[in-house]
């Protein structure tokens, strides 16, 4: 085997962190919700990722969130982390998270975060994708689908 450069190994490990691999292998909330009040599909035609996000909203609180579908490690881990995070949040706070996460992953250089009153530390595991422009779409796919679902849009969203 070729010796792999240590720095490169680090870079790859920065993208494929243990937390990401764990959520990709064992996605949380990976099922359909019967009686979901909101749902939307997300499609990434570039790599064929197809997710469907479900949410049950009671009043203005997301009492349950889930997803199903298939995708790469980054998109599945992101969906898993997202559904974990937004369960129990108000719809508005979840939308704030969507704005914060997508801005952070798509803005070049150091992103100045806004305090939205939610601990986004776990989501930071995805920060590695900022160096991979073609993979940012994978990381934001579930979030776009959630945004579309809670806003009641019926067209599948695409990250293309």
């Amino acid at each position: 085997m070729n010796a792999i450069d240590i720095n490169q190994d680090d870079e790859l490990r920065d993208l494929y962190r243990e937390l990401i691999l764990d959520h990709a292998r064992n996605p949380r909330h990976f099922h359909k919700i019967d009686g979901a009040t909101h749902t939307a599909a997300g499609i990434n035609p570039l790599c064929g990722d197809k997710l469907r996000v479900y949410a049950k909203v009671d009043g203005d609180v997301i009492t349950e969130a889930s997803f199903e579908g298939s995708g790469c490690a980054i998109s599945v881990a992101s969906a898993s982390l997202m559904t974990d995070l937004v369960t129990g949040l108000s719809v508005q706070t979840a939308l704030d998270c969507f704005a914060e996460v997508t801005e952070r992953l798509t803005s070049p250089g150091q992103h100045v975060g806004h305090d939205i009153g939610v601990n986004l530390d776990k989501i930071r595991a995805l920060d590695g994708v900022r160096d991979y422009p073609s993979r940012v779409k994978c990381a934001t796919l579930a979030w776009h689908a959630l945004n579309s679902a809670v806003k009641g849009q019926s067209q599948p969203v695409s990250t293309e």
């Binding site: 790859l12 494929y16 064929g48 790469c72």
Partner: protein, 413 residues
């Protein structure tokens, strides 16, 4: 103007030095470019031909009476003659210059099929087609009430020829088949298909995007009615392609697009169309792209298509062997006769993750559905990783690929 290359290769392996883009490091590793099926790199001679034209000879073609326009026209039409000879068309009238395979096929769908098709007529394709040889037919079927029929493939990725035969009906108005499958590498038995079609007087279009770069193509020996291909898969520029069509068919077809260059006389009472091939070339064409294609043909001829085919066949065999040695490897596309391409999946690593990890080790492959979603559906996968070899690849590229895959397995273990 392009300078034809002298024959100077002791072996195809020497070709690599002619491709400037291959001589670079990516993420600290030598580039192993294994995605020529998507778009091939260009040799110095093509880059120089395009640059020479742009620096010295640029003007619009078929119009000016001045020196530069003459030079541009000569280079552009000279390239058409090279293309004619390269595919052995019987006349330059049969060589229509387009923006690529996709436009070539759309031209046939709209100009040949649309006026002829009636509700209930059929167009027969296969299950392994690229979207470019599927969607244009779907569109013309929607426009006319005709039906698109797809012949099945087997688990090796080969066309089921008996089933194909049974699907040829009295209503079949055109058969459109890939010469070589872009997702699976299968070389289809096109001569056989054409023979059977001729017996029933059905015209055949071949999607040659993946054929022309890898083997010598003789449209008269094949006796196909249309043959479509792209410059950028055969070491020429993007945005340029060819539609070969038999003269008698092309003569009968109405223009595909209206505009300048495709007319003889225009008045408000009507327009007289230009003769072949100009009838199908409305507007200012991709002059530099066509000149680059001419230079790419010179280059391929200097290497020799037989040498190209032999080199690639050996390399593909080596790649398939080496990939098979990896635990957890699933090869997709194992037809008896193949060219250039190997699709695969490793363990349960998503092709996109594999692509990113390979890129980090200097290995460029294609990942995804390869614009052939029905093929992915058939194999029950969302996509595959695909490595494709061209005349400039060597065993080191394959070894680098294999090592990089093992690295990905470590990360995902």
């Amino acid at each position: 103007m392009s300078q034809p290359q002298e024959t100077r290769f002791s072996s195809v392996a020497d070709c690599r030095r002619d491709f400037p883009a291959l001589h670079q490091q990516v993420h600290g590793h030598p580039l192993a470019f294994l995605d020529s099926a998507a778009s091939a790199q260009q040799p110095e001679s093509v880059i120089q031909a395009v640059s020479h034209y742009q620096q010295h000879d640029h003007a619009n073609v078929h119009r000016g009476v001045y020196t530069l326009s003459h030079r541009a026209t000569e280079a552009y039409e000279g390239a058409r003659d090279k293309i004619r000879s390269f595919i052995n068309a019987s006349s330059r009238k049969e060589v229509i210059l387009t923006s690529g395979t996709t436009e070539s096929i759309n031209l046939v769908a709209q100009s040949y099929c649309r006026p002829r098709l009636q509700a209930g007529d059929e167009i027969l394709i296969t299950h392994m087609e690229h979207h470019a040889n599927l969607v244009p037919w779907q569109l013309v079927c929607e426009q006319t009430g005709a039906k698109l029929v797809a012949a099945p493939i087997n688990k090796a990725g080969e066309l089921e020829i008996d089933a194909f035969d049974k699907l040829v009906s009295d209503r079949t108005r055109l058969i459109a088949v890939a010469h070589v499958s872009n997702a699976l590498g299968t070389v289809n038995p096109v001569k056989d298909i054409i023979c059977r079609a001729k017996a029933r007087d059905i015209p055949v279009l071949l999607d040659g995007a993946q054929g022309v770069p890898h083997m010598s193509v003789d449209v008269q020996a094949l006796d196909c009615d249309f043959y479509a291909f792209s410059a950028h898969k055969m070491f020429g520029p993007t945005g340029t392609g060819v539609l070969f069509g038999k003269e008698a068919l092309l003569e009968d077809m109405p223009p595909y697009q209206g505009g300048g260059d495709m007319i003889l006389e225009v008045s408000f009472d009507g327009t007289t169309f230009n003769e072949l091939p100009y009838k199908f070339e409305a507007g200012t064409p991709n002059i530099s792209g066509v000149i680059g294609l001419g230079a790419a043909i010179d280059y391929l001829l200097s290497v020799g298509m037989e040498n190209v085919a032999q080199h690639e066949t050996q390399l593909l065999e080596y790649m398939m062997q080496q990939l098979s040695n990896i635990d957890g490897m699933r090869l997709i596309g194992t037809a008896a006769t193949k060219a250039s391409v190997q699709s695969f999946l490793v363990d349960d690593i998503h092709p996109h993750d594999l692509g990113t990890i390979l890129d980090h080790q200097g290995v460029a492959i294609r990942t995804g559905h390869h614009c052939a979603m029905p093929v992915m559906d058939y194999f029950g996968v969302p996509g595959t990783a695909r490595a494709s070899v061209a005349l400039y690849n060597n065993r080191d590229d394959i070894d680098q690929l294999v090592n990089a895959i093992r690295k990905a397995q470590q990360i995902f273990s």
